[in-house]
């Protein structure tokens, strides 16, 4: 492999990693506070995709950027509705934690099936500005415009998230809730508001991450959510499930592994690539449950 190809691969991996990191963060935000693995997360992306499809049909005159932002809004709205209607009542009934897991599973099924019944079981195409598929030449390197855009958008989103978490009082509350949820309540911070905010952020990240994710495949299906949720899940575990920085790292580890293995493995072993990566997940859970981030304490078993 030439140096040019290697650099191009690295850039592709970094760009993909930034998208994966966004997805992982959306999952970890909710897990950090609620200790809940939100299996309906993939469906957040799906809803975003269908929102784009609906908007391009209803309002084709509206600029693409505005449609994209509206669809992110739809995802956030969905996340908030789901939290209010499904997760909060189950939480309030004080059952075992597995009930919340099952609720997320149920929401996932409900959303997928709603898409199948009300829209269609077949794929629908999502329009993207044609500039996305262009390739830009930087000297000897050829880089996909999509990669640059993805990197910029992810970077800005991450920046926004960091600012929210570190500079605002809301962010302080969220981080405190992730540390010790009960103590946060004992200081008067309303549990429901914190959780709803976490879901909203999760929805926002899923919305933006979804737009970037769909840019690579151009279509949406009712069951499209499984891929992203597995990606997010893997990246989160690598990062230790509780650490936002870890989710970031996890996203990049995943993207580099994916692209690296793709380039290096013989074609016959390629299908086992995902299996191999999940073995790594198990290994991490066993030997370094705090994730690959240095200096974190082990994930408590809750």
């Amino acid at each position: 492999m030439s140096w040019n190809q290697a650099v191009e691969l690295v850039i592709a991996a970094v760009s993909l990693g930034s998208t994966y990191a966004l997805l992982a963060l959306g999952l970890v935000i909710v897990f950090g506070i609620l200790r809940l693995i939100n299996f309906a997360y993939g469906e957040f992306l799906m809803i975003g995709g269908y929102a784009m499809v609906a908007l391009q049909g209803i309002a084709p005159g509206v600029p693409w950027g505005a449609r994209a932002m509206l669809s992110v809004g739809v995802v956030i709205g969905t996340a908030l509705v789901l939290e209010r209607v499904a997760f909060r009542p189950v939480r309030a009934s004080h059952g075992p934690p597995i009930n919340l897991l099952l609720t997320s599973f149920a929401c996932s099924t409900i959303l997928q099936s709603l898409a199948m019944v009300l829209i269609s079981p077949r794929s629908k195409g999502i329009q993207y500005p044609s500039v996305i598929s262009a390739e830009i030449a930087f000297g000897p390197l050829r880089i996909a415009a999509l990669d640059i855009v993805a990197l910029v958008v992810s970077g800005l989103s991450l920046l926004g998230l960091v600012i929210l978490l570190r500079k605002t009082f809301l962010g302080v509350c969220l981080r405190a809730a992730a540390d010790d949820f009960t103590m946060t309540r004992l200081l008067g911070v309303r549990a429901n508001r914190v959780i709803a905010t976490a879901f909203a952020i999760s929805g926002g990240l899923a919305g933006v991450g979804g737009i970037l994710y769909f840019a690579r495949i151009g279509l949406v299906r009712p069951d499209i959510g499984l891929g992203p949720v597995i990606i997010a899940f893997f990246a989160s575990v690598v990062g230790g499930m509780e650490s936002l920085g870890g989710a970031l790292i996890g996203g990049f580890v995943l993207s580099f592994l994916t692209i690296g293995l793709q380039a290096v493995l013989p074609a016959s072993a390629l299908e086992y690539r995902d299996a191999f990566m999940f073995l790594i997940v198990i290994a991490i859970l066993l030997f370094r449950p705090q994730g690959l981030m240095p200096g974190r304490q082990a994930l408590e078993s809750r």
Binding site: V172, L187, G188, V189
Partner: protein
């Protein structure tokens, strides 16, 4: 100010408190002592709203507490320094303090209070931007108390503040608590360290196996505790 009447509370099918009645008057410092497992933390948890009692009433400044959420109870003026300090390790000292005032909206006053806390507890001022997880046990305890004071509580509950502290620090801790009392805060002090507690409180309750075994001024209780120790051997300290 605070009245518990005939409280029965527990966890699931286990009854931890039976017929517990306690009063704390305005301006008092009341101690709640007893051995491990007697139910002291259960009392605090019930008052704070973390646990719903099976029977009984709790009134604070005339208002009923039972059935209210912890978030509401804090807003009524009850602050808590829980067992084990429970500061937020992922946040800085300053952020911990800021969070203590979560229920308040008067931002300039909050800033002033933070400054005051840093004066009263100099170590907090020095370590203002450090992660709270890096503080020592004694420093964390000071942070926990300062944080609880940030909401300007009318009643402050402390659950075993001396637990896990080195003996020299224990002295300092109790001096600190006396200082709080002198500043006019009503205090409910839950402790295993009987001797030191009885030195500083106005009144105390002795809790054993979920029931109030004795109550009264420190001297009376000290006698009872001595008798217990003599005849039963090794309780409650």
């Amino acid at each position: 100010m605070l009245i518990l009447e005939d409280i029965q509370a527990g966890y699931g099918s286990v009854v931890a408190l039976r017929g517990v009645s306690i009063r704390v008057e305005d301006g008092e410092m009341v101690g709640l002592i007893g051995p491990n497992g007697a139910g002291k933390t259960t009392v605090i948890s019930t008052i704070a709203g973390l646990l719903k009692p099976m029977r009984g009433q709790i009134r604070f400044a005339g208002q009923e507490l039972v059935g209210r959420s912890p978030e509401d109870i804090v807003r009524m003026g009850i602050g808590m320094v829980p067992e084990g300090r429970r500061i937020f390790p992922g946040l800085t000292v300053g952020e911990n303090l800021r969070l203590g005032a979560a229920i308040r909206r008067d931002h300039s006053e909050i800033r002033r209070d933070i400054g005051e806390m840093c004066q009263r507890f100099p170590v907090l001022g020095r370590r203002f931007h450090s992660g709270a997880g890096k503080l020592s046990g004694g420093e964390q305890q000071q942070l926990a108390i300062a944080r609880a004071l940030m909401c300007r509580p009318r009643l402050l509950m402390l659950d075993e503040p001396s637990l896990g502290l080195a003996p020299t620090l224990v002295e300092t801790m109790f001096d600190l608590i006396v200082g709080l009392r002198e500043a006019g805060v009503t205090i409910l002090l839950v402790e295993q360290n009987v001797a030191k507690t009885l030195e500083i409180v106005d009144r105390a309750y002795l809790l054993g196996l979920g029931q109030i075994v004795a109550e009264g001024p420190p001297r009376e209780l000290a006698d009872i505790v001595d008798i217990q120790r003599a005849y039963l051997g090794g309780k409650p300290d």
